[in-house]
Point group: C2
Chain length 108, copies 2
């Protein structure tokens, strides 16, 4: 059984607008860092630090391919996170709330 304080620490990570959007987007597919930087109109270090926190608590995992690092969900053992993400809107809705369209995103 997972500790209450451990669950709270994980939920705290969901309690940030940017991280919650990141996780919701990751429901659909893996994304690389530069895509998030474009989408959120936020500095690259800011995104990187959010992802590091998520990785540190085992909520996402990374997958390096070439110079890109792709992130994906790692919540098979965390039913309460799955339960939240199940209730979240789809990527399109998230992206429209961020006032961006996915078609603009290019990392080369």
């Amino acid at each position: 059984m997972e500790e209450l304080s451990n669950i709270a620490d994980n939920l705290k990570l969901l309690g940030d607008k940017t991280r919650l959007a990141i996780l919701t987007l990751l429901k659909e597919r893996e994304w690389c860092v530069c895509e998030f930087v474009e989408i959120f109109d936020m500095s690259q270090p800011a995104i990187s630090q959010h992802l590091r926190k998520l990785k540190a608590q085992g909520i996402v995992k990374e997958n390096k391919r070439g110079q890109w690092v792709y992130y994906s969900l790692h919540i098979e053992d965390k039913s309460y996170i799955q339960a939240v993400l199940d209730q979240m809107p789809d990527s399109k809705t998230i992206l429209s709330q961020l006032n961006k369209t996915q078609t603009n995103i290019v990392c080369e």
Copy 2:
């Protein structure tokens, strides 16, 4: 549709050990402030401030009876909170993790 940032703000409130325990206990029944003070071995203002935050975001509601104020869940319209609390252990488990037994609690 609820705003992403609004959902994040609500989840942030769940991301605290004390508040998460409070909400999990409230699944079972309503509790009054003094019970929480006993259970959490924390100052009365600390508990009161946690409850105020939860009330401010409409996650709990209060019910005054005599000199006591009872709190209960108000999450019918917040499926993502219901989803989290559904995954939480029962009151007995929470209380044992707090190293207290419910039988000790007396407010008079």
